[in-house]
Amino acid sequence: AQSVTQPDIHITVSEGASLELRCNYSYGATPYLFWYVQSPGQGLQLLLKYFSGDTLVQGIKGFEAEFKRSQSSFNLRKPSVHWSDAAEYFCAVGGQEYGNKLVFGAGTILRVKS
């Protein structure tokens, strides 16, 4: 069965600092991997996805993520964090083998300090 682990429940970074949010997955076939962001009181917004091909994917708002099959990881990065990035971030895995259903990680709450 598919599963996702986000080991960091909370992360605090200073504005302008770099950011890396960790995501590890378990999946029996070729995974589709996603990062979503949820701001307080808001819905889920898709940041980026890995489907196939280039393992470094670019997303919106200056985010990128790297798929590493050998490590079963899909970590999210941003070189310089802005205060508006404070939100909760969810990693998710899915695929055709499981009916395109998504399994979500527990989420990482990002706090940005000025």
């Binding site: 819905g43 889920l44 898709l46 009916g99 395109n100 259903k101 998504l102 399994v103 990680g105 989420g107």
Partner: protein, 115 residues
């Protein structure tokens, strides 16, 4: 992307009553899902809404508690029946869109509080 609307956006309901949540998509989609997000928790899939047939429920969710309808390719409803305070959650509708790849989009959610 996909434009998804949900009604109501929020509601406060009494224990023992039922609430029906509507999900409308701006264009036809093959796959629609319903998720639940309990307070402070991640998202959990309730069921896949199948057009023209019974929904497919995940382990721990049953049709009597969460009946789902999907009369066409742009609309679905989820009913939360005989509610208890434990049903207080955000309920989200989601759709899959295939373009050059696979993307799943979420509605704004319905925030339900059961008193």
């Amino acid at each position: 992307s996909a434009v998804i609307s949900q009604k109501p956006s929020r509601d406060i309901c009494q224990r023992g009553t039922s609430l029906t949540i509507q999900c409308q998509v701006d264009s036809q989609v093959t796959m629609m899902f319903w998720y639940r997000q309990q307070p402070g928790q991640s998202l959990t899939l309730i069921a896949t809404a199948n057009q023209g047939s019974e929904a497919t429920y995940e382990s721990g969710f049953v049709i009597d508690k969460f009946p789902i309808s999907r009369p066409n390719l742009t609309f679905s409803t989820l009913t939360v029946s005989n509610m208890s305070p434990e049903d207080s959650s955000i309920y989200l509708c989601s759709v899959v869109r295939w373009t050059s790849s696979y993307e799943q989009y979420f509605g704004p959610g319905t925030r339900l509080t059961v008193t």
